[in-house]
């Protein structure tokens, strides 16, 4: 093939490509748009009833105590929030449990322990749960995650002629944020 015909063919190809470029899809100069990603971090406080207070099977006339150290049956609450957060902890405690046909069963001798780690063996403080608040702080310092663990025990005192059946009630733990 001669040199001139090669040149002519090349030019024709270029022209065809240019036509396709304009008539069909086209590349373009870079165009950029921007958006923002935004979020607002709110500092929460979370209170969780982690473990119900369970006495299991109890026999009439036989008192039964669940100690706050009982890992399986003691009541346990967990408070999470800003490290070092200052809180006041108090309780609404029942004096009786409700059973079948309106029967009741006394509960008392509440015991408690709070700690910044999930342990009842050391590092925390014992207290007597009541409507009077205990003030304490979550673990850590502000700007880090903080925790507080609260453990609860009590004694039930069924009468010798206690009506058989299931007895229950509710414990409410109040956590007031006193740092603001």
């Amino acid at each position: 093939m001669s040199r001139t015909s090669l040149v002519a063919r090349g030019a024709a190809t270029a022209a065809a490509m240019a036509l396709a470029f304009v008539a069909g899809t086209s590349p373009l100069a870079a165009q950029t748009g921007t958006i923002n990603a935004t979020a607002t971090v709110l500092q929460p406080i979370t209170i969780t009833g982690s473990n119900d207070l369970q006495f299991g099977n109890v026999f009439p006339g036989v008192n039964k105590t669940v100690d706050y150290t009982d890992a399986t049956n003691a009541g346990q609450f967990t408070v999470s929030g800003d490290g070092g957060a200052q809180v006041a902890v108090s309780f609404d405690l029942p004096t009786d449990l409700n059973g079948p046909s309106g029967s009741t069963l006394p509960i008392d001798t509440w015991t408690g322990y709070y700690n910044t780690t999930n342990s009842t063996s050391s590092g925390g403080s014992t207290f007597t749960p009541s409507s009077s608040a205990v003030d304490t702080n979550l673990s850590g310092s502000t700007g880090s995650a903080g925790s507080l663990y609260v453990f609860l025990g009590a004694t039930v005192k069924p009468a010798t002629n206690q009506t058989q059946g299931s007895y229950s009630n509710t414990v409410t733990m109040t956590v007031a944020y006193t740092g603001s």
């Binding site: 270029a14 899809t25 100069a29 165009q31 921007t34 990603a37 979020a39």
Partner: protein, 165 residues
Amino acid sequence: MRRMRRIITSRTLRAALLPLVFVLCGAGSARAKAPMLTVARVQDLTFGNVFPGVPITVPLTDAQAGQYTLVNGTGRSITAQLVFVLPPTLTSGGGATMPLSFGPTAAGFSATGSLGSIVPFDPSVPFTVTVAAKTTARVFLGGTLQPNGGQTAGSYTATISLTAN
């Protein structure tokens, strides 16, 4: 004969090159006008209120997902490659950072602009799209925030750019 071939050759070349020159000039003048594919912000990617230690994902179809438009005002369809610049974190005014990530289907392209025709894609790799003549397409972007357990309270922000090449 040689003279004859020379004439044919030059005529052939002229015939071939003329449209090329015409086309290139035409294309040049078209390009000199307004951009053919305009990328514009519609809305930010808004995570709203978030809590320390609680990850949150905004899906690309969510009302809070980020949105851009790709406007093709020309009479020709345009093929472009979409390239995101994705920040790894959001930053607060005090300098605190919060990890931000984008999954393989965090972005979506809709040739018609409607949610029903979204084609998901990975915003971390270039994605080729075609925008038909005289239409507005949309690009959607979701993401996942992972505030740590001690994340400082406050407002966080970052800029996300989208380039159409």
